[in-house]
Symmetry: C2
């Protein structure tokens, strides 16, 4: 979802270099230095306005979190939350999900979250979907061998595609939910902004948890 | 679904040894002899009353079909249809889906259909589900290496389970549909009795097509 520009976004980002890194280069293998504690690192690719990642970080002080987002305005909204919350286990990146291997070292990341990514429904845009094989290559390259990829979407076509794509890639499924919000197995789901709105109107949420 | 016994069932079966085989032993590798033509063999495990398999056989004269069913009354309903239709590419088996490797030789079967199998929702009954790994072992043992397994269900829990089970087994997904009856990719779906009723009341049908 493209957001309207905000004049406060860029100055806010520039004022908080301790909380946010812009297009991080030379940071590979060094992310733990930016956190209060050295603990497993979880990355959300495409954080939007950050409801999910800030609530996850608050609920899981035993893990470190990074919110990665391409849109300056969106990550500025996440930053605004973090300026208020000052979570010691949350860092932000303004950067491109297509460049993960430039940002992270092999095995540096333990978990990857993909939440309500753009479905890119047209066949000619398949390569832009965050579950296309070139992206799966990237997650694999930066993830610990025991790491887990968690993917949520409301988009039926993207979920069908992603089940086939991740299966064909050779990933191992841990869990599939075809109706996450009515799934007795799930007790600790944290919603994104979009998920909350969509689900409150009765829409189904799908989830796949898989590993390499 | 368990059907009420019918007094005509057993005599009908006994009267048509050319169309139906009861607990076939010694038939491994010889099924083609029972058909008018030697052509790829498709097996439905759990045929119920046979709407699906008889319509498939009528629509695809270029393939041979076998309806396998454990319940005598149910297979007798299929037989009643076949006595009327006399399809040269359809054979019936009254037998147990747990004994496939006793009935068929390796690579004898090209396609396996699982339609609206009993979901066995209790965890302690997992081993009875037709997509449990011991059943996947059996299909693999009798299937040609290019063979395809097509699985349809309306049961969300069984579909979630089967996606994980078949993925963990190492099967390769060709196609997933989370709403088969509204899927633009599918133009030739043939319904079972149950599917027709369930779907006409607005229920969702799931489909997975996979290979070994």
């Amino acid at each position: 979802m493209r957001l309207r520009n905000k004049s406060w976004a860029k100055p806010l980002i520039e004022a908080h270099p301790d909380m946010i890194t812009v297009t991080p280069l030379g940071m590979q293998g060094k992310w733990q230095e930016r956190f209060a504690q050295n603990q497993p690192l979880m990355l959300e690719v495409g954080s939007g306005k950050g409801k999910f990642i800030t609530e996850m970080a608050a609920a899981h002080p035993e893990l470190n979190f990074i919110a990665l987002e391409l849109q300056e305005v969106a990550i500025a909204y996440v930053l605004r939350k973090q300026v208020e919350l000052e979570l010691p286990n949350l860092q932000l990146i303004l950067g491109d999900g297509a460049n993960l291997t430039e940002y992270f070292a092999p095995a540096e990341v333990t978990g990857v979250y993909l939440n309500f990514s753009d479905p890119w429904p047209k066949t000619r845009h398949e390569k832009r979907r965050l579950t296309y094989k070139s992206f799966l290559d990237q997650y694999k390259a930066i993830m610990h061998k025991d790491g887990v990829l968690q993917f949520k979407t409301d988009n039926q076509g993207l979920f069908e595609y992603s089940l086939v794509s991740m299966n064909n890639y050779g990933m191992k499924f841990d869990m599939v939910s075809l109706d996450l919000h009515n799934d007795a197995r799930v007790v600790d789901n944290i919603e994104t902004e979009y998920e909350h709105k969509f689900s409150s109107r009765g829409g189904r949420i799908y989830q796949l948890v898989a590993r390499y």
